[in-house]
């Protein structure tokens, strides 16, 4: 009854529909922006005119409305207005910080890799985190380093995998590469294990399969174990999978990508996290499992061996209850050289097969 009365009251007092003029401008240059997509209360209404940046929305009812404006390469923006108090609304859109690096455009279903610059690095001389603003002061330099990393690692995978286990012929087409550049909000590669990125990025970029914090080359030379140029990966959930690495250590980047993208497990012996990463594991929790997988995948089961490491001039100094198959030098054991072995590559192929690009 109450609802019926309220509905009646609403019908009686509803105003006649009117029109709203939306003007879209560039937030920095204040120039009008044509071709911006405008939505009213979630429904697409059309694009702004090239010459004036204006679109007129008709049949508006009195009340609060939501105007959403999008345009490729710009950050989308939403504005609430009250009609008829406002009959003209000016919306300023700013260029986005996300830059697509694929020449051929975005591919649907591809693996999205986003690079983010760090304003910090590590000093082997001081054994401490240091400020390293090179990327924050120079976007071109950051872009060049990102392109070098992409070419030498992600797109060079066939050079570091065995020919006996070929990658999909089109594996290079299964990635979308981007970088995100906002000098006012740099990442800190040395805050936490995998580094931290200011919150706006996560709001802005919802689709990243991996976000790579790239930090400038560390200072000084390796002198002892306390020199800690590191890589790290931490998965905070779908859309928030983070890894960090120094831009000049390409094998380490492959190694961290092995963790973050392909879920590969370390094969060196140490204080790291071991588990049998089925299916197509590269580390097994028993010799039997390792041998059984090797047999079914056509590999020699005799190559299964426990993850161990001998100390200099002594017997075993580290031993883990896990088994590995890939021969040394194995990228999942080394930070300087090596290849992904057959077992690791089978896992890589398994993940790549899930990226169905259309």
């Amino acid at each position: 009854m109450v609802v019926s009365l309220l509905a009646l009251a609403w019908t009686v007092t509803a105003a006649e529909p009117g029109s709203l003029t939306v003007v879209v401008k560039d937030a920095r240059t204040k120039a009008v922006v044509g071709g911006a997509l405008v939505y009213l209360d979630g429904a697409y209404k059309g694009t702004t005119a090239d010459s004036s940046g204006v679109i007129t929305l008709d049949a508006l009812k009195d009340g609060t409305h939501t105007v959403r404006v999008t345009k490729p390469d710009f950050r989308e923006i939403t504005k609430k207005i009250v009609y008829p108090h406002e009959t003209t609304v000016s919306v300023e859109i700013a260029r986005g910080a996300l830059v697509l690096l694929n020449e051929e455009g975005e591919k649907k279903g591809a693996i999205n890799v986003v690079f983010y610059p760090s304003s910090t690095s590590y000093s082997c001389t001081d054994h401490a985190k240091v400020s390293a603003p090179v990327y924050i002061n120079n976007e071109t330099r950051f872009r060049e380093d990102v392109m070098k990393v992409i070419q030498s690692t992600y797109l060079n995978l066939d050079k570091v995998t065995p020919s006996k286990t070929p990658l999909p012929a089109d594996y290079r087409d299964r990635f979308n590469f981007y970088y995100y550049y906002d000098p006012s909000a740099p990442a800190d590669a040395f805050e936490g294990c995998a580094g931290t990125i200011p919150g706006n990025y996560w709001k802005d970029v919802t689709f990243a399969d991996i976000t790579v914090i790239l930090y400038p080359k560390y200072y000084g030379a390796y002198s002892d174990a306390a020199c800690q140029p590191t890589g790290c990966s931490q998965d905070y959930g779908p859309g928030r999978n983070l890894m960090k690495a120094p831009s000049d250590q390409l094998t380490l980047i492959q190694h961290e990508t092995g963790h973050a993208m392909y879920d590969l497990v370390d094969t060196y012996c140490g204080n790291t996290y071991y588990y049998q990463n089925d299916p197509h594991a590269n580390v097994w929790s028993s010799r039997e499992n390792c041998e059984s997988d090797a047999r079914s995948d056509g590999r020699d089961p005799a190559q299964c061996r426990q993850i161990q490491q001998a100390a200099i001039g002594s017997s075993v100094s580290c031993s883990q209850p896990y088994w590995r198959w890939d021969p040394m030098p194995d990228i999942m054991a080394s930070g300087y050289r090596g290849k992904f072995g057959e077992a690791s590559t089978q896992r890589i192929n398994y993940v790549l097969s899930k990226a169905v690009v259309s």
């Binding site: 509803a14 429904a43 939501t66 689709f207 174990a225 931490q234 905070y236 959930g237």
Partner: protein, 447 residues
């Protein structure tokens, strides 16, 4: 010009002038209605709680690529699974330190956080009603969330979005035309009240503490239960030793649980979670180290502090392998006060971290930063003890540098280096956190 080329030319002219009014092929505009659901969770001591759930425009990540021990599901109103994916536990960070370029492999370190944020981004699912996160290994429900309030809230602002219009009855409220201002008040009130009820109901049911399930305490009962004594699980295959320790502890006011093997310990932990485990190393068939591995592998039991107990000297290999997993190490023969000091230290440390985290949260200190400091502080303390044991095993005089085995020397050097770096980092974090504490008039951290 042949007839064919002329026809072709005419076709092009017709196409450009007739179909494309601007004289060139106009780029087709495709409205973008992609939306994602963001579910923010907090992970603390093996339990997941919901922080928020909201809907926003944007593209979702490629869920097919995900793998891990957890399973996320989006369910419709009838409870039918509409979308599922795998994901990893958020507390696990895998760090790799570059070693000597002359041939050494990587040096690993894991950051096993007791606390972490988790963020799950999934695409909008038309009939979504709720979200669940389960442990794929045993099917245990870790947390669930009602997604209806988030969807309805979104559809209030974007009622014209085709997906909102198609949602039907549950979101009719959101899909209504905008309301005229003159009559909006009753509707707004009804909307606000309805949404508040939905949100409150949602918040009430979203959090399921696995700890409650493991201990058998029903939800809601916790507040009514009086504070209980700290519980210690004693694990030793020597029943006499178990009885002696039990006597020590009960006399001092601790509650105890007893296990006589590694397997027995793990069986008990499936049903009950103590505040601390006192674990003997030399047991058969599953020794203390293997038992420790299993305890630390399970995200539920992982946060429980473990105090290792043994008559055997700690080897360098054991120290290297397990230093990040243990909370303290006591040599037999046991001394009454040594056990209590160790237990008190561990439990007080745990409480200090909890209180500190609460305070940090109140004054706006980054949770990750505080947890990193707590973790480093624990590791520094344990590592120093391990170095002492390796340098001077119980009952022996301290070794001179030349008398040490190469393995011990190498491990001591490595742990010392790591500890030094950890101390530098901890000092840096403590300075940053105390700066905030000082500015808010809160007592500074002294540990």
């Amino acid at each position: 010009m042949t007839v064919r080329t002329l026809a072709g030319f005419l076709l092009i002219v017709m196409f450009c002038c007739g179909i494309c009014p601007f004289g060139a092929a106009a780029e087709q505009v495709v409205p973008d209605y992609d939306k994602v659901v963001r579910i923010q969770l907090n992970y603390l001591d093996g339990a997941y709680t919901l922080s928020s759930a909201d809907v926003q425009y944007g593209r979702a990540p490629n869920l097919a690529l995900q793998s891990g021990e957890l399973k996320g599901s989006i369910l419709d109103t009838s409870g039918k699974e509409r979308l599922s994916f795998s994901t990893r536990e958020p507390w696990r960070a895998q760090g790799d330190i570059l070693g000597d370029p002359e041939g050494r492999t990587l040096i690993g370190y894991t950051e096993d956080g007791d606390a972490s944020d988790m963020s799950i981004t999934v695409p909008w699912v038309q009939d979504m009603a709720s979200f669940t996160l389960t442990d794929s290994r045993n099917g245990a429900l870790l947390v669930s969330a009602d997604l209806m309030p988030a969807a309805n809230l979104f559809c209030t602002d974007y009622a014209g979005d085709p997906d909102c219009q198609a949602r039907g009855a549950p979101s009719q409220l959101a899909a209504m035309e905008p309301v005229p201002e003159t009559t909006s008040l009753p509707f707004v009130l009804i909307s606000v009240l309805s949404l508040s009820v939905l949100i409150a109901a949602g918040l009430a049911v979203v959090t399921i503490r696995r700890r409650a399930a493991a201990t058998g305490i029903p939800e809601g009962a916790a507040a009514a239960v009086k504070p209980v004594k700290q519980t210690v699980l004693i694990v030793d295959d020597d029943p006499e030793m178990v009885e002696i320790i039990d006597q020590f502890l009960t006399d001092e006011g601790y509650a105890t649980i007893k296990a006589f093997s590694g397997k027995g310990c793990l069986d008990i932990l499936k049903k009950q979670l103590p505040d601390l485990v006192l674990l003997d190393v030399l047991m058969q068939p599953m020794n203390g180290w293997e038992t420790l591995e299993q305890i630390k592998k399970d995200p539920i039991t992982k946060p429980i502090p473990v105090l290792m107990l043994t008559g055997k000297h700690l080897t360098s290999a054991e120290a290297k392998q397990y230093n990040i997993r243990i909370d303290d190490y006591i040599m037999k023969p046991l001394r009454h006060e040594e056990i209590f000091t160790a237990i008190d230290n561990i439990l007080q440390r745990k409480q200090r971290f909890k209180d500190g985290l609460e305070m940090a949260k109140k004054v706006g200190v980054d949770r990750e930063k505080f947890c990193e400091l707590a973790k480093l502080s624990r590791r520094i303390s344990v590592n120093k003890k391990i170095i002492d044991i390796l340098q001077a095993p119980a009952g022996t005089p301290a070794w001179g540098p030349d008398e040490m085995t190469p393995e011990n020397r190498e491990v001591i050097e490595q742990i010392t280096m790591t500890t030094r770096v950890n101390e530098q980092r901890a000092e840096q974090l403590k300075t940053e956190i105390n700066k905030v504490f000082r500015s808010k008039g809160v007592p500074e951290i002294t540990w």
